[in-house]
Amino acid sequence: MDTEIEFLRRFESELSTRAQADARREASPPARGARRWKPYASLVAALLGLALLIGLAASGSFVGAASSQFNSVGAAVNNSGSVDQGAISMPGIQANQGQSSFANGTATHQSAPVPGAVAAPGTNDGGTTTSSGANQQQLGSGAPAAQQGDLSKIIKDGQIAVTIDTGTFKAKAGSVAHIAAVNGGSILSSSTEGGDSGSFTLRIPAANFDQAMQQLAQLGSVDSSASQGQDVTAQYVDLKAHMKIYLSRRHVLFGLMNKATTIGQSLTLQNQLDQVQLKIDQIQGQINYINKQTAESTIKVDMHEPGAAVAQSPDTVDNPSLGHAWDRAVQGLLDVIAATLIGLGYLLPLLIVAGIVLLVVRFVRRRRVAANEV
């Protein structure tokens, strides 16, 4: 280039090198299939995206289906009065616990089959249900509707924020304690700020939850009010079923213990008994926890005079947890993968049909081309 400007000469050199490299690339034919992967990759990406959307939609409907399925199980219990023994199974544990054996296989023992069914309405936590000894537990065909209500276990929580008249905080704080007391509950924790605002956490029997919320709302002007219910019925029913299975296993093991003839057999059975008892204790603890949580509800009350700084109860401080965030991230990833798999399940038949149609079309076209060439 005929110029005195060095910058332009250098740039020409760079541009020329680049252009020559591009020319060489243009001259060499692309490897077979090198550029053909892009449309396929796009197609796969589009299919996966579609599968994800379908999966998400289907997952939503599954939740509804599961819910309705649960309701129908409840209906079956109440209407027909019978529960299938195999309705709930536990990993690693057979629903039918009627047979057991020693670890060394030297002795076997037959005992009456024990139903591993869902706990019947009205049964106690200890699992001492009435049993006919058959594989099915018979209930009265006309079970009252109230018993269906007994099945549900809901943990209720509520929050309410009220603005009270100036100078009345002390009196209203006393009213909060009174409301907790008259409803059979208590104040779990409280914090006040500046003598004109405070936060209270109440534990109230679940039966009096609505009444307590109404009474708290009358303390002043309600700024916000919310209540939530967490349905733990399915978890509760599962726990009861597991409890029943372990109790029956313990019963069988006791029987075997009485018939054990060697120290080895006794030790083996004792070991198994210890494990079963540990499981029973764990499950009983969880059942007790749910019972306690559902028997009483939690109400958080924020009360303040106009213009007062709102007190924050200690348990409402937001402490971000990286561990929790990681768990949620992993769960989110698994959810997306699961939803995509579900969607692929829906798409697969359509893809197979589309593939067959495509093959037929290509076959017909080739036949036509071949016929035209002839």
Binding site: M1, I5, F11
Partner: protein, 193 residues
């Protein structure tokens, strides 16, 4: 000597990239002058020139022969670059990055050579007004270089700084002035290539 027209070169460069280099040889100095007269800044002018040709090379497949000379398409890109420079006061190197070219600094001697491309006489009066908007060090450097017409060696001596620093102060000052004049609606160059 390649006797093909600019349009033919541009069209040929799709399959024959080296043809674009010929287009660059023909028009690089003109494009540089175009930018230098409008930005007053040798550094900015050189950068904008490089970016314009890089953008043109990267987008040469988009060029369509509409009957006008292919160089008009090139100046369309240049105007776009210049507009962006006046809007943001910065020069992007996105096109150079896209085609794998480096961002070269302007060699010291090129400052004078590019300034020679710019006729500052018509805008000298406007320059004096715009000088007020500059930082003191840039104003001093510009006064010595543009108003008094001293060489960079002498400017550096009088300012007590290195010659490269003197060049940079003049360059930044001119760029600032060009932006100010543009904001005031004063055209720095009347001719249209």
């Amino acid at each position: 000597v390649d006797e093909r027209s600019d349009t033919e070169l541009l069209l040929a460069s799709r399959a024959e990239p080296v043809a674009f280099v010929e287009l660059y040889r023909r028009h690089a100095e003109d494009v540089l002058r175009y930018f230098a007269r409008r930005t007053l800044d040798p550094e900015a002018a050189a950068e904008l020139t490089a970016e314009t040709f890089a953008e043109a090379y990267a987008s040469r497949r988009n060029y369509r022969d509409t009957g006008t000379n292919g160089v008009a398409w090139l100046y369309g890109i240049a105007r776009h670059q210049l507009g962006r420079f006046f809007r943001t006061g910065t020069i992007d190197a996105a096109a150079r990055r896209r085609i794998g070219l480096s961002r070269e600094a302007l060699p010291g001697d090129d400052y004078e050579r590019i300034e020679e491309q710019v006729d500052l006489a018509p805008i000298r009066e406007a320059l004096i007004d715009a000088l007020e908007t500059l930082r003191e060090d840039q104003r001093d450097a510009l006064q010595l270089r543009v108003i008094d017409g001293l060489g960079y060696e002498e400017v550096a001596k009088r300012l007590g700084c290195a010659e490269a620093a003197a060049r940079q102060r003049v360059s930044r000052g001119l760029r600032r002035i060009a932006l100010v004049l543009q904001e005031r609606g004063l055209s720095l160059a009347t001719e249209v290539e």
